[in-house]
Amino acid sequence: MVDLAKLLNSDLFENLRLELRRGSLIIAVLAQLREEHYGYALRKALAERGMEIEESTLYPLLRRLENQGLLDSEWREEQKRNKRFYRLSKEGAHILKQLLEEWHSMNSSLKRIV
């Protein structure tokens, strides 16, 4: 019974942790893409700053954000390889600004609550 309770708790924590991360990941990706990156380089850049993202989460997320108009992309050759480079679009920059304001406001509220 104890093991089952532990298991349920760890599952619950994992689900809550994922929910918490989901929104933050988008802010991190948008913010990092103020500088141009291709998929793998972006993942490395985020990991260097402590934000590890699985490749299978990041690459589809980039395409979704591009479809939503928040990113621009371009295929270009780098080191004799064709790579798709992403950069924050004009609309993306505007949304990022709003998201950061929201995040700061939530963060200060939470600090007062916790």
């Binding site: 490749e55 299978s56 690459y59």
Partner: protein, 348 residues
């Protein structure tokens, strides 16, 4: 890097067709960059086990592809590829059942209307089948969202997934000519080949259906004004033989759509033979002659040369098209025979 290409091919199978090339090109470049990065850190090339570990960490191809799918409202993107596969399989079985029953009706000598009815009933069966499968998957999706069953299955599958067990690359998977022959196309061809064969050996309803399509209501009259001329005797057995060759090829292709060399070889034989038969038919003085006992023979005798001329040019045109197709298959056979490695080169 062959393992990487096999991995990408496995992901391709679960991606929406319209986005396959674009997604795989990008995913391939990212994975190659990751591998090269790791190699430069180690100062040596990765061995197969290390490469397999990189791919395993990236995830099972099905779940990788799932994340590229758009969110859907009725059936979520996680279940959607499985749902779509089940829909295709079930509709394929239903279609196959109706095709067989239509052929049985033809062989039993049933009327044209009964055969047509059996074929059209298929379209009536499609909608309820589609609806039931959709309802079942929608319920499964609700259950999945509530109990997170698929997340657990995904985790287990990713743990068990070994990229080294992925199937070998298919030949020339990057070029449209190198792709396996779609099964639905072969199934349609097989249906028409068998129907043609039954018509040719004089199974009545099909014969009458073809005459109706060619001549309109006159084709359904008890007494058909025209019949095939003496040239029929010359081509009767070659046509049966060529159709049987086509039927064998289609049956094998249906089971093994990736056997392109066999497919091309058999197509060359049947197309080459068809060109000869069509040539003989187009050279005949008159493909059709007046049937004995025709009412108003003088009237039909005036129409006959026009019908024969139309048939002559139709045969010529079909012969040219068949010859072009035959040369295309010969060229592909030679190309794949002389560059087997190039044909197997990866597409991304």
């Amino acid at each position: 890097m062959e393992l990487l290409e096999r991995y990408l091919e496995a992901v391709r199978a679960y991606l929406p067709k319209s986005q396959q090339e674009d997604i795989l090109k990008e995913l391939g470049e990212n994975l190659r960059a990751q591998v090269e990065d790791t190699e430069s850190e180690l100062g040596r090339a990765l061995n197969e086990d290390e490469l397999a570990a990189v791919l395993k960490k990236h995830g099972h191809p099905l779940f990788v592809a799932t994340r590229y799918r758009q969110t859907r409202h009725l059936i979520g993107s996680t279940l959607f590829p499985v749902y779509w596969l089940v829909v295709k399989i079930i509709l394929g079985f239903v279609g196959f059942g109706y095709a067989i029953s239509a052929l049985v009706l033809i062989a039993q000598g049933k009327s044209v209307l009964e055969v047509l009815g059996a074929i059209f009933r298929f379209s009536g069966a499609v909608l309820p089948t589609f609806a039931w499968v959709t309802i079942i998957f929608a319920v499964l999706d609700i259950g999945n969202n509530k109990f997170r069953l698929l997340e657990k299955i995904t985790r287990d599958s990713n743990e068990r997934f070994d990229p080294r067990t992925l199937p070998a690359l298919r030949p020339a998977s990057g070029s449209p000519e190198g792709k396996p022959i779609p099964r639905y196309k072969t199934a349609i061809e097989l249906f028409f080949s068998i129907a043609f064969l039954l018509w040719w050996v004089r199974v009545n309803p099909i014969r009458r259906l073809a005459l109706f399509m060619a001549l309109g209501p006159a084709g359904l009259a008890d007494k058909i004004p025209f019949q095939l001329g003496p040239v029929l005797q010359t081509v009767y057995w070659p046509v049966i033989l060529l159709t049987l060759v086509a039927v064998v090829q289609q049956m094998v292709t249906l089971i093994h759509p990736e056997r392109l060399r066999f497919y091309r070889l058999m197509r060359v034989i049947s197309n080459g033979g068809s060109v000869m038969v069509l040539y003989l038919l187009s050279r005949a003085d008159g493909m059709l002659v007046l049937a004995p006992g025709t009412t108003d023979p003088a009237g039909f005798a005036k129409v006959l040369p026009i019908v024969n001329m139309a048939l002559h040019y139709t045969m010529l045109f079909t012969a040219i098209m068949t010859a072009v197709e035959c040369f295309k298959q010969i060229r592909l056979l030679f190309r794949e025979g002389s560059h087997p490695k190039a044909a197997a080169s990866p597409s991304v």
